[in-house]
Homo-oligomer: 97 residues x 2
DNA sequence: TAATTATATTATAATATTAGAATGTTTGCA
DNA sequence: TGCAAACATTCTAATATTATAATATAATTA
């Protein structure tokens, strides 16, 4: 329906359009974390964490690996995300238009 | 309800979470445009263009000035937006996680 | 193999977003 | 003043997102 170039870009932004998902990404910038780690760090219940992780996974922002009973999530491209988030806080006005 | 730091960031990403709004921003990177310019460049009807511009305005991404009968919209911080968009297309995989 | 731990999925209700139609407002000009 | 152009707002129906509760699955351990 829409130009796929802009659709791809908006899909990525959409993945980060919820505060919980931004917080998840911020935590993952410090290293990989499993779901129960997230559940403690962020004040959100377990199914909701899974839902948000699923959105991030679909958008290609994160991936995971199994470690025993746990699933460890990590950023697929931490360098670029760090860059994008840094370029947003360069000034006080985060809106960045 | 959520940490305001992450809320601010997600609000910005949310502003760019629709393909039409990304396209609007892409066009505005080439200079300011009025609503009827947009309406021609993008295949979207007038009220819908106004709605999307309103979302971008609320998020602080764009502002406008009156020029006769027209309203000319422009990016409030084109440099930063250019930077963010550039850092997204550095690799083929736009997801950038 | 049964129980437990860790995580995912499904269902549901509430809310938000979106496109498009209809209507309203503002500006400039005849 | 009356009209047309440019843009915004409101309304509505369709769809999407979200949080929570309930349930299911997968891996480990007793």
């Amino acid at each position: 329906m829409y130009n796929s170039k802009y659709r791809e870009i908006s899909d990525f932004f959409n993945a980060l359009s919820h505060p919980v998902r931004v917080e998840i990404v911020a935590e993952l910038l410090n290293g990989q974390k499993c779901v129960s780690d997230m559940r403690e760090l962020i004040k959100v219940n377990q199914p909701n964490v899974s839902q948000h992780l699923s959105v991030l996974k679909s958008a290609g922002v994160v991936d995971w690996e199994q470690t025993g009973k746990r699933k460890c999530y990590f950023l697929k491209n931490p360098a670029r995300l760090r860059k994008i988030l840094n370029s947003m806080k360069e000034k006080k006005n985060v809106s960045g238009g």
